[in-house]
């Protein structure tokens, strides 16, 4: 009936309008107020009065990449210790303080930072800033607390890796195969024996070394008054002493010169899986932004090349996943990084067939210039996804970006320049970036070989 008319015309109209006027989604600016305390603590304030909530995030410039040798998994185990007691808040008291005030909290350990964050009703901002300052001042932890969290973390490794089909594939595995420098290539969830070996002395030393105001960024996002927040932050954090930070180890990766291929048996899995990785261009280089768009061409969204080829056309899999930094996004790391694509498939499809299909799509980017329509589409997807990141988890996503840009670049204002950096990427740059960074000799393939034997429980479903 009436349905035939609107479909094409309406969407064309909207598209035309957007490309003519530039669209009203461009030019969105994140408010950023940035300053440093005398002890070196970086502080970013970004008000948003949409809802009566605030996100508080503290990022320490210590990730699992540079944790001590012989103590794999320690940066993450230490993250758990930050919830076990400080001078004024005993075990469980930090958690209860946040939750009984109507908030949520978490912490996470990543390549180059460990973060702690809370989202609470706006009027509890001071309460939370006080609590974060309290645990930045010092911990108060017993052997019982450490033993308890060693058990909890070992259970975490079991539930996410050891007792899970495809556990660790490829997010935990691939960096260990693709990288050569120990800092980038060790098991950062931790060997269970090395987790067990951790002592209270290790905890003390780690805290003293890395958990200091001059090695951290504090971000507040949400419904607050910046002047008031600045005063509260100064009151609680100003007198914390800075520490002498150790020099940064060499975390660089040598240019990869030959393609690599590994396989891994998984006794819990019954279908094979395939992952392919390439080392990223250095962060903040023009090529890095080009990779941001290449990721959109190849992998992000239903229209992406690899989805169209591997899912729609060839039916090898139901989805292709991956991207830049599987444990975050293209902004929240500070060192060598991988772009990874991975999928689950049938025994009938050999890994070589998958590799050839992926390489054939990649090869198009290495030989042809991308047309304008494709670039425009990728830019729009990039911007839309970027806004989603800002919005994610009630403003925490915005805090995460601001903290990363403060911690790694000393420039949180950069959050408003990213769209422009992406716009500057040209077809020629895309091609040269693909030629250098998506070359076969920069590639690591990981094949997961399933060895699960169907148990007695399952024959009723078998063929």
């Amino acid at each position: 009936m009436k349905l035939v008319f609107p479909i094409l015309p309406l969407s064309c109209f909207a598209l035309t309008l957007a490309s003519c006027t530039g669209g009203d989604s461009e030019g969105f600016k994140v408010p950023v107020e940035y300053f440093k305390l005398k002890n070196g603590l970086k502080v970013v304030l970004s008000p948003d009065h949409t809802a009566p909530i605030v996100s508080v995030a503290v990022y320490y410039n210590i990730g699992f990449r540079i944790e001590p040798r012989g103590r794999t998994g320690f940066a993450h185990l230490f993250e758990h210790m930050m919830f076990q007691g400080s001078q004024n808040l005993g075990k469980m008291e930090f958690i209860k303080l946040v939750q009984k005030n109507g908030g949520v909290l978490n912490g996470s350990t990543r390549f180059d930072f460990t973060n702690y964050f809370q989202i609470v009703p706006a009027h509890k901002l001071e309460t939370i800033l006080w609590a974060e300052a309290d645990r930045m001042r010092g911990l108060d932890i017993t052997q019982d607390n450490l033993t308890n969290q060693q058990a909890v973390v070992k259970n975490e490794v079991k539930v996410n890796v050891l007792n899970q089909p495809y556990g660790g594939f490829p997010w935990l595995d691939m960096p260990q195969y693709a990288n050569t420098n120990w800092y980038n290539a060790h098991n950062f969830y931790g060997d269970l024996a090395e987790l067990d070996a951790a002592t209270l002395d290790d905890v003390t030393a780690f805290f003293k070394t890395y958990y200091a105001p001059n090695n951290a960024a504090l971000v507040v996002v949400g419904d607050f008054d910046p002047a008031e927040a600045r005063e509260i932050v100064s009151r609680y954090f100003e007198d914390l002493p800075p520490s002498d930070l150790p020099s940064t180890p060499d975390i660089s990766e040598a240019r990869q010169e030959t393609s690599k291929r590994f396989s891994k048996d998984d006794s819990l899995a019954n279908k094979p899986a395939f992952a392919i990785a390439y080392h990223m261009p250095p962060r903040n280089s023009p090529e890095y932004y080009a990779m941001g768009l290449i990721d959109q061409f190849l992998l992000q969204g239903d229209d992406s090349m690899l989805r169209q080829t591997l899912v729609q056309e060839r039916g090898y899999t139901s989805a292709v996943d991956g991207g830049i930094n599987l444990l975050g996004n293209m902004f929240n790391y500070n060192g060598p990084m991988l772009w990874i694509a991975y999928l689950f498939h049938d025994q009938a499809t050999p890994a070589d067939t998958l590799k050839e299909a992926i390489e054939s799509d990649i090869e198009k980017l290495r030989t042809d210039l991308v047309d304008d329509e494709t670039i425009d589409r990728a830019r729009v997807k990039f911007r839309s996804t970027f806004y989603d990141q800002l919005n994610s988890f009630f403003g925490f996503g915005r805090a995460d970006l601001l903290a990363s840009l403060a911690l790694f670049d000393d420039d949180p204002e950069k959050i408003n320049q990213i769209d422009d950096m992406i716009r500057r990427v040209t077809p020629e740059l895309i091609k040269s970036t693909a030629q250098e960074y998506l070359r076969p000799t920069n590639q690591t393939v990981l094949v997961l070989n399933p060895t699960k034997v169907m148990s007695k429980e399952e024959p009723k479903y078998a063929n």
Binding site: P6, I7, Q99, Q143, N155, G301, R377, Y387, E457, A462
Partner: protein, 461 residues
């Protein structure tokens, strides 16, 4: 034993602070609470029964659009398990005028994609796009819903994808524990048919797919939600134009289950498993019951929050597990309560003991006012967070609509939470967490756990 240890160790506590003997400070209270009001919304109803709800929210130039259709696994006969999921897959395979690739590219030009998700009671078709493309995305979603092509050429591929995913899920300890738990609670109902036999999946025809969709789609079953930043008159116009001529279809199917549970233990053997994946639960009251919101308070205190009693005990005190939790899982006029945990194999029995200990304790003595208030503040705070994102707002509204709840369910939510008394919490635990009916399912190393768990119920052979 644990307590004794910590007492002994007090003498050698490691103090990492410089001022170790100063009086402990209390956290500052903060300022006065700000007012929270539910985001305002407008609703409209078309002649064919389709409802739409528009909620302007936030400052970011993005809008989330979701059409929710009352169609899902509930509409499947016993020999149609996952047929609705296959129908959902097909919705992304193009319309009468657009191929799947055209659909994907058009959505991408708006900064989004069409996402279809199929659940027990509802199917949803979602697009989240840059604000200026809101009306165009309405049109695209309408085309997907009204004019699906169901190309037979894609049938074998989509079935094969489902067969592979089924096989992968059946290797997942959580998925198989959930499947067994559901099949025990709902022996003769779609909610209990979590996995299809592979041969069944393999046999589905394009005609079954088409018939299933045609028999269940229509304006009367559909609700369009729009939340975020958008041009309201243009969105409204797009909804009226693109959904206006659609047929009404049949009213939603009502098929309320009669769940059952028995105090017995089912073990799914996973030889060598380092952890036991445990589900302990039973049917409970559903959102249509006046006590449902009160039950959520009891649940958050017992096992449903980080500071809850069970989590404090088996994680933060004993270290038996990493991510335990309890929840109330609701479907139309139906719900169950479940405590789940992945527990290190050799402490499976001790962990169950602590879980039942905490249930017993809450059933026999009311919590303190202070403990309860903390939980009430937590739930009230979470409610504000649930109303603080476009997708969160849509989730709450569609929950309300599915369960046929009055406006007051949301507007008086916080008030209702705060009205619960400690004695009511005790009574709710006693009335609804009946240990004698607790169904226990464990995926784990049978040889190692069978004896450990025998004291908690008959272990089925």
């Amino acid at each position: 034993m644990q307590t004794k240890n910590s007492l002994l160790l007090i003498g050698i506590v490691m103090i990492m602070t410089t001022e170790s003997f100063t009086q402990k400070q209390s956290p500052p209270e903060g300022s006065k609470p700000k007012d929270f009001v539910l985001p305002p919304k407008t609703t409209l109803t078309l002649e064919n029964g389709l409802h739409a709800t528009l909620v302007p929210y936030g400052s970011l130039p993005k809008v989330t659009l979701r059409a929710v259709i009352r169609m899902g696994n509930i509409n499947e006969a016993a020999d149609e398990v996952w047929l609705s999921d296959l129908v959902g897959d097909f919705l992304e395979e193009g319309t009468l005028t657009r191929t799947s690739k055209q659909l994907a590219e058009e959505a991408a030009r708006m900064g989004g994609e069409i996402g279809v998700s199929v659940g027990d009671d509802q199917m949803s078709v979602t697009g989240s796009v840059l604000s200026e493309f809101g009306p165009a995305m309405v049109t695209l979603i309408a085309d997907v819903i009204r004019n699906p092509a169901f190309p037979e050429s894609e049938l074998d591929r989509l079935k094969n994808d489902r067969i592979r995913d089924l096989s992968i899920q059946k290797a997942d300890p959580n998925a198989i524990t959930n499947e067994r738990f559901r099949s025990l609670l709902y022996p003769d109902h779609p909610y209990g048919r979590v996995f299809p036999p592979e041969e069944l999946l393999r046999g589905y025809t394009i005609q079954q797919v088409r018939n299933f969709y045609a028999g269940n789609a229509g304006g009367a079953r559909t609700h369009m939600y729009v939340a975020g930043k958008f041009d309201a008159p243009r969105i409204e116009e797009a909804i009226r134009t693109s959904f206006g001529g659609w047929e009404r279809g049949v009213e939603p199917l009502v098929n309320i289950p009669k769940p059952r549970s028995t105090r017995e233990i089912h073990i799914i053997d996973r030889p060598g498993a380092p952890q036991s994946t445990v589900y302990i639960g039973l049917p409970t009251i559903n959102p249509g019951d006046n006590d449902y919101r009160r039950l959520l308070v009891m649940n958050a205190l017992l096992g449903g929050s980080f500071m809850s009693r069970i989590t404090s005990n088996i994680r933060e005190d004993k270290g038996y597990t990493y991510s335990p939790g309890s929840s109330v899982s609701a479907r139309y006029r139906d719900a169950y309560w479940v405590q789940f945990a992945s527990i290190t194999t050799d402490v499976t029995g001790p962990a169950l003991k602590e879980i039942f200990f905490e249930i017993d304790r809450l059933q026999s003595e009311p919590p303190t006012t202070e403990e309860l208030q903390g939980i009430q503040n937590y739930i009230a705070g979470i409610f504000v967070l649930q109303n603080s994102s476009p997708s969160g707002i849509i989730n709450l509204l569609s929950f309300n609509n599915l369960h046929g709840l009055p406006e007051t369910y949301l507007t008086e939510y916080v008030k209702t939470i705060y009205a619960v008394t400690p004695e009511e919490v005790r009574q709710l635990a006693a009335r609804h967490i009946r240990e004698e009916e607790m169904q226990i399912v464990i995926a784990g190393d049978k040889k190692k756990i069978e004896k450990q768990v025998a004291q908690f119920g008959r272990v089925l052979p």
